[in-house]
């Protein structure tokens, strides 16, 4: 099992969700996050007071999938979240040791 975490542009969330369900991903977790990468930040001006906002709002999508599904999931996110402009985000993949469905006690791939 692998945990796939994708930091994406907030307005791309629905497209990413649709793309993931399209490749058979049956659940995901979403958080509103802030951060910066190559996009750095943006400048806001209020009556002449300039602020460099260095942490931009992003959405973090997390899914846990079978090893066999990982490449398809990554490809789906990468396509759906892509605009070609700086700030599209990143995808990280980490190994997951165990998963348990709380309701039934099922574990491993059966819990996904």
């Amino acid at each position: 099992m692998k945990l796939v975490s994708a930091i994406i542009k907030p307005f791309k969330l629905d497209e990413v969700r649709d793309a993931l369900t399209g490749v058979g991903v049956s659940g995901l977790t979403v958080s509103e996050v802030k951060g910066f990468g190559r996009q750095k930040g943006q400048t806001e001006i209020y009556r002449g007071a300039e602020y460099l906002v260095s942490f931009l709002p992003k959405v973090k999508v997390e899914i846990v999938v079978d090893d066999a599904q990982v490449e398809r999931a990554i490809e789906a996110i990468q396509k759906a979240a892509h605009t070609g402009k700086i700030g599209d985000g990143k995808i990280f993949v980490t190994a997951v040791e165990q998963a348990v469905r709380i309701r039934t006690g099922e574990s491993g791939s059966n819990a996904l």
């Binding site: 806001e44 001006i45 209020y46 009556r47 002449g48 007071a49 602020y51 906002v53």
Partner: protein
Amino acid sequence: MLKAVARAGALMTLVGAGSTVARAADKPQIDTGDTAWLLVATALVLMMNIPGLSLFYAGMVRKKNVLATAVQAFAVAALVTVMWFMVGYSLAFTDGGALNGVIGSLSRAFGAGLQGSVHELAKTVPENVFLMYQATFAVITPAIIAGAFAERMKFSAMLWFMALWLLFVYVPVAHWVWGGGFLGTAGVLDFAGGLVVHLNAGIAGLVCCIVIGKRHGYGTEYMAPHNLVLTLVGTSLLWVGWFGFNAGSALSSGELAGNAMLNTHISAAVAALVWMAIEWVSRGKPSVLGILSGAVAGLGTITPAAGYVEPWAALLIGASAGAVCYWASVVLKTRLGYDDSLDVFGVHGVGGILGSILVGVFATRAINDVAKGQPIGLVDGNAGQILTQLYGVAVVGAFCAVATWVILKIVDAVVGLRVTRDEEVEGLDTALHGERVQ
């Protein structure tokens, strides 16, 4: 027209009544149209303060200070109303006898003698309505000041400051300009409060933010407005309420009130466009806060002139308001380095000064024949009125600056002006009021 018919009818009755003429002439002739308009205008001006000014300011502060900021205008409305009824109105708007040049008397303290009476400035309206109308001006003027020291003053100190400032600055200045005092007698013109309200609050705001000092983290931390939708709603309420402020200051319902309303609307609109255009060209984007600020600048600047100038002049006054107040709020403030949190001086103070001077240029007997046929402003051929207006600006500005400074020093010595650094960082909502927005 109807009013003229009614007056002619009243005159015929008087002539016919013979021996009762003297007594009938003493009895005030209440005009229901004038009275109805003043009743409505009073409600409009209170609406400018709560919720107008309250929201206007609340949207511009950080989220941790939104309640503490919004409640200031509300608390001031309650505090000033009680003080105005007790002594404020009387000291501002009655004849002070030998001292009338500087202050009125206590003859109307606690509402004494109001029943069956009219004030000489509004002879067709019951005096209790006039008292109420003026109360709303007394409420909003100190409430405007609160924007200058937003996000750092103690609530207790704010209440003490507002009470003292009302008694020792607003009341005398209102008397000098409107209540029969030396500035009005000298010919200084202020239709609805360019001097009494906006210059007065603006100068006081400037002194406050300098004496109290900058917010912790000013210039380095992120202090952007937390919700400009609140500010947009507040500004809109101010704009509509300003019709009561300026057109109500005609103290009658008719052509003069209509002229004041037209001028007010034109000036607000033009100033909003001018501020927007300057910002668009110089900074690349037309900001929401910029358009709103421009409208308020236009409204404040036309205030002293609304009932003295022709509508084409309102166009010029509004345009100059947009440009000059932009410069004061964006360029001057940054250059001088004071932390006038919500630009009370840049928008209200500078607008009040500008408008009060421009009255000397554009006031005309064609609109309001206050000099009984004599020329009024420069457009009538009387350049001297500009000097008279400058005299008013200098006197009110200097007195307000000194008196505000003294009041701040007294309040600082007694209760302390400023919250602790920890409280300021935590946010005034929880630190001062034990509440917060989610």
